[in-house]
C-alpha cells in the first residue's frame, strides 16, 4: 500500500513533533533545516517501524533528508 506524505506528516504529529512545525514543512527542503532535531528524528524512525513495519537502516537514515526522501524510501 502506498504511503503518502500526508500520512507521514500525521505520523510526525501523532508522535510528538510540534504541529506548527509540521504544518509548515516543505517536502523538498531538509527536515533538519526546517526544525526537526536530533530528538524528533529517532521518534520518526521508530514510529515508521511501528506503523508501517519498515525498518530504516542507519545508512538509509543518513541519506533521508527531506519529506520526499521519506516518501520515496517508504514506497520502495
Amino acid at each position: 500500500m502506498k504511503v503518502t506524505q500526508k500520512q507521514i506528516l500525521k505520523l510526525l504529529v501523532d508522535n510528538g513533533v510540534d504541529q506548527k512545525l509540521v504544518s509548515k514543512l516543505k517536502p523538498d527542503v531538509s527536515l533538519t533545516a526546517q526544525g526537526l532535531d536530533s530528538v524528533d528524528y529517532p521518534v520518526v524512525i521508530v514510529a515508521i517501524k511501528e506503523k508501517f513495519g519498515i525498518a530504516i537502516t542507519d545508512k538509509e537514515a543518513a541519506e533521508i533528508k527531506t519529506l520526499q526522501d521519506f516518501e520515496k524510501r517508504l514506497n520502495r
Binding site: 501523532d14 508522535n15 510528538g16 532535531d37 536530533s38 530528538v39 528524528y41 529517532p42 521518534v43 524512525i45 521508530v46 514510529a47 511501528e50 506503523k51 542507519d58 537514515a61 543518513a62
Partner: protein
Amino acid sequence: MRRLFSAGDLLAGPLTRSPGKTALLFQDTRVTFAELDAGARRCAAILTGMGVQAGDRVVLLIPDCPALMQAILGIMRIGAIAIPLNPGLPDPDTRYVLDDSGAAVVVTNKDIASLAFGGRVLHCGYLDFDFPSVEGADGIHPGSADDLAVMLYTSGSTGRPKGVPHRHGDLLAMGRPWAPTVLGDIVDDTIFSTSKLTFAYGLIVQLMTGLAAGATVIQHPGAPDPISIFDLLVRHRPTILCSVPTTFAVLTRAWPGGDVTKSLRVCFSAGENLPPSIYQRWRDLTGMEILDGLGSTEALHLYLSNRPGRNRPGTVGEPLPGFEIRLVGHDGLDVPSGQEGRMLLRGPGLAPFYWNRPDETAAAMLADGWLDTGDRCVEEQGCYRHLGRASDLMKIGGLWVSPIPVEDCLRLHPAVADCAVAGCHVQGFEHPAAFVVVKPGTVGDAELGGELRWFARDRLPKHMCPVKVEFLAALPRTATGKVQRHKLRH
C-alpha cells in the same frame, strides 16, 4: 548488661525483661521470646549433632515463619553462617547459591530432591524442627564480633546474585541508628514487614530492630498479596508497617475501604524509589505519610532516612547517625551541593567483601572503609534524592539522564498503572524508551503511545522524552520487586 559479641544472643535483652511476651505472631500462633529462644537452642543442638561447625554455611529454604527465625538465631549461636534464601527461587538459581556458598547443610520445609544437593538436609515445619525431644544447646560459640554470621544473596538489578556476608558485629550494630531516630521507642509496637527475612530490609526490621528491642513481629509466609496484607492488618493491628513501593502501589489499587490502617503510627518504605504519585495516593486513602529511606544489602541497613516531622516526599531523607556520605563525580572528587554524583558510604556494619568475587570487592569496597554504593544521588540542604542506579543511567545527547523522573512523569497519566524507562538505540544513539503497563480496561495502542509521548513532551526537557512507548503486561522485576531495567534495554 554484658557486652554481646554474637548475634545469636540478640534476644538477650527481651529474654531477661519479658520472656513471656509475644515475639512472633504467625497465623493463629503466638510464640513468646522464651519459646523462640528455646527453639533456637534446639536448632543449634540439632545442627551440632549433624556435624555443623563454626564457619560452615547453612542455607535456609524456609518461608517467613518461627522455624526460620529459630534457625537463623540457632546457626549464629554455633558460629556457623546463616544464608536465608527465597524458597520460591527457580532451581537453577538455588543450585547456584548452594554451589557458590559451599553450603554444608540445607534446612528446609519442602522437598528439595530436584536440587540434587549432595550435602546434609534438615527438615522442619513452620513452627519447629522435627526433633522435639532434643534438648537445646546452652552455649554460644566463643568466636568474635568479626566472625561471619549471615550471608545474603543480593538480587541486584543486574546479573547473577552475589553473596554478601555480614559479621556478628554488623548485626549487633545495626538496629541502633534507624529505630531510635525514625521509629522512636518500639518495645510496645507490633511490626509488620512485608519484606522477608531473606532480604536485608526484612532481616533488619524483623530481627535486628523489632525482636532485638522486644517488639512483636508479624510473620507472613506467603507472597505479599493485598488480600493477605489487609487481612493481617485487621487481624493483628500492627503499629508499624514496613514495605516496598511496589507493594504500597498494589495496596492502593486494591484498597478495600474502611479502617484497615487505623492502628498504624508509622508507614515506612525502602528498597526502591517511592514515586510521588504512590506517596500521595496512600496519603489520600489513609491520611498517613510514608517515610522513605535508602539502604542496601552491602550496608545491611538503611543509611538514609526521612523522619517523622521532617519528612520530605520525593527524597530519601538525611544520613542516619554514624554514617558518612560523599557524592563524587566521574573524577572521584566530591561534587558540590545540588549536583548529582555517585554515592560513597562509610559507617558501621558494612560488608567486608563479596563472597568469591575479588574483582567486584575491589571495585566497590574502597580504601579507608568507603563503599561505592553504585547509586546516584543529589544532596540539597542536607537531604538526599535518589536518582537511580548508576548502571540505569542513559547518555542522551551527551547528558546523563536518569529514568526516574521520566517514569514519575508518565505515572501521572491516568492510563498508566506502572512504567519503566530504559535506553534504546536508534541510529546508533541512545534514547529513552518507555515500557508501560496500562490500567485495567485501557488499551495500550499506538494512539495511547503517541498521547504518552506528548504528555512527556509537555512536562520534561525534550531529550528526556521517550522516543518509543511499548506496552507490557508486567515489568521485569527481581524477587524484591526492583525493576530490572537492564532487561528492557536494547
